[in-house]
């Protein structure tokens, strides 16, 4: 009986496992293997693919463009994570509160979720176009700026920060926010109302209740969200790629876009795989923390 029950469970998860294996594990292992080969697509026919050890890693890590893209990856991921969590907490409160027209506000907050990242990126490229941007028109009308802001092409920078980087971060926040808000809202709704009542009787103000009740009780949810945002953020590709292609002057280039360029612009699958390998290592570290936290929770 026990055996049959287990067999049934394995049968149920088998399709998901097979798909993960075919679309996730196999490409990942292949890519990791390629990162140790000399794999130049143009010369592969004649020269073949020879094992070169860590050489590809040495090459990409000494490429200034890759280092810049790594810095950008970390900066953008941390900025997106911080902004999404902060705004997510605020908007989750807005969604949780009871007032007239709440359904409309909830729909508006969730709306970006219905737009696929690729489409969102394309829409925002138009919205942030220097000459046609409605945002520029609005800022101009209010007298806040004299000339059009070059959201995606301004090359003035301050360290790793720049207007194009901020613009791409903003779009990534816009697109990623609903998921986090829903997550946090679910977490907040699981907190008993009587705890807030007890806290108000104990003398906690609105901010006190947030600090001493909401925040600590959301900690497990927040932990999961932060780790998920870091994992997905380090490997993020589509919004950066579509909005700026990594430009201007690599200001918004991230590791995933760098890897794409190596593979499909320069046909260096070996360097692309090594760059991906570095991202894989970064996400693995976060994954270890994530899995450890999950195991600890189960205990």
């Amino acid at each position: 009986m026990e055996l049959r029950k287990n067999l049934f469970c394995y049968l149920m998860v088998a399709p998901a496992l097979l798909i993960t294996l075919a679309l996730g594990i196999v490409p990942m292992v292949t890519s990791l293997w390629w990162s140790f080969l000399d794999y130049d697509l143009i010369q592969a026919e004649t020269a073949g693919e020879t094992f070169v050890g860590w050489r590809n890693y040495q090459v990409v890590l000494s490429d200034q463009r890759f280092v810049t893209s790594l810095v950008n990856t970390v900066v953008m991921t941390v900025m997106v994570m911080a902004l999404v969590v902060a705004l997510g907490l605020l908007l989750a409160h807005v969604m949780n509160a009871k007032y007239r027209g709440r359904a409309i506000v909830r729909t508006l907050i969730c709306a970006p979720w219905f737009v696929p990242p690729v489409v969102a990126a394309a829409i925002w490229v138009w919205m942030l176009d220097t000459d046609r941007s409605p945002i520029n028109a609005l800022l101009m009308d209010w007298g806040l700026i004299d000339g059009n802001l070059r959201f995606l092409t301004d090359t003035t920078d301050a360290g790793p920060l720049s207007l194009p980087l901020a613009s791409v971060v903003a779009v990534r926040v816009w697109n990623g926010l609903p998921f986090v808000v829903i997550f946090l809202l679910a977490g907040m709704q699981s907190i008993s109302r009587s705890l807030y009542e007890a806290a108000s009787i104990d003398g906690a103000s609105l901010i006190g209740r947030f600090r001493y009740i909401t925040l600590p009780l959301l900690k497990p949810v927040l932990g999961v969200i932060v780790m998920l945002l870091l994992i997905t953020g380090f490997g993020h590709f589509e919004i950066n790629f579509i909005m700026t292609g990594g430009g201007p002057q690599d200001m918004t280039n991230v590791a995933a876009v760098y890897a794409y360029q190596q593979a499909f612009n320069f046909f260096r699958f070996d360097y692309a795989s090594a760059a991906s390998g570095v991202v894989f290592l970064m996400t693995s570290v976060i994954c270890i923390f994530y899995i450890r936290a999950q195991i600890r929770k189960d205990k």
């Binding site: 008993s192 705890l195 009542e197 007890a198 806290a199 108000s200 009787i201 104990d202 003398g203 009780l217």
Partner: protein, 354 residues
Amino acid sequence: MSTISVRNVTKKYGAVTAIPDLSLEVTKGEFIVLVGPSGCGKSTLLRMLAGLESITEGEVAIDGEVVNNMMPRQRNIAMVFQSYALYPHMTVAGNMGFSLKLDGADKAEVAERVNEVAKILALDSLLDRKPAQLSGGQRQRVAMGRSIVRDPSVFLFDEPLSNLDAKLRVQMRAEIKSLHNRLGTTIVYVTHDQIEAMTMADRIVVMNAGTIEQVGAPLDLYDQPANRFVAEFLGSPSMNLIDGTISDSGTVVLGSGLELPLGASLRAGAEVTLGIRPEYISLSDTGGMKVRCMVSVIEPTGPATILVVEMGDEKVTIEVTGRVAHRVGDFIDIWMAKEHCHLFDTSSGIRLDQ
């Protein structure tokens, strides 16, 4: 210690009126119990005192000061919730000291006060535990400790014992009462359990459908219920209530045709309900009104036996001390103590003076 005045308070939820018009005075240091069936408005009233519900109309004053627009924390009250509402992420000490911490008291002061109260409630060995590691009774005590630490002027209890098992409930009942004797703080206590109300209260407020049916000392309410609702609500097993009419000769004629020499001063033809508590019916001749009945149920509880007998079409409950030799189906004589019979107007339920 504080006084509480509830003056013509109304509570409406949209078109629904939960409390139509309620007034109540609570004196200094009094232990007052609001009791009534579910949905009678007792918790709503308590939550209005706490400041957790707004007051639609009327005034609530604590120590003469109207608190309608004050936040809960400005009212100097403490509340124990039915669910205890302990902060799950804080230790027992953290839970108990939370209000002092918010008040800006320094750590040593908080610790001292928490220890002091923990000793009173025998919680001193549990201070480092989280609520999840405590039993129901311990959580209940922490919830009380949290409210005592603040030294409030009023304690509000919202059905604090309903999540405990029967044995623990009896124990906690005694603890709360001795705590009241010790601290002397005004307590407003909500329960649906009439035994809790009877055993703990200085005064009981019996509520029904948002209104007060009767206010008074427990035994006064028990002995002289103002109406049929109070008569039926207090006491377990509850009072026997039998409908009848007043005859021309001034006796009460029950539905079964049985005639009892009661209600002489009442108008002939009036429809009345006769009430008598189970313990005032005897199986031996104690000089009351004798009636012949058939035993239909016998429930021995140990110290007492509860019998249900058929008197004509009516079922009557009797409680006698000790055990009985009768069997179901036996015909027996019972004696009803005349001085313990109550008459209520059948339609309005109001008590009638005989």
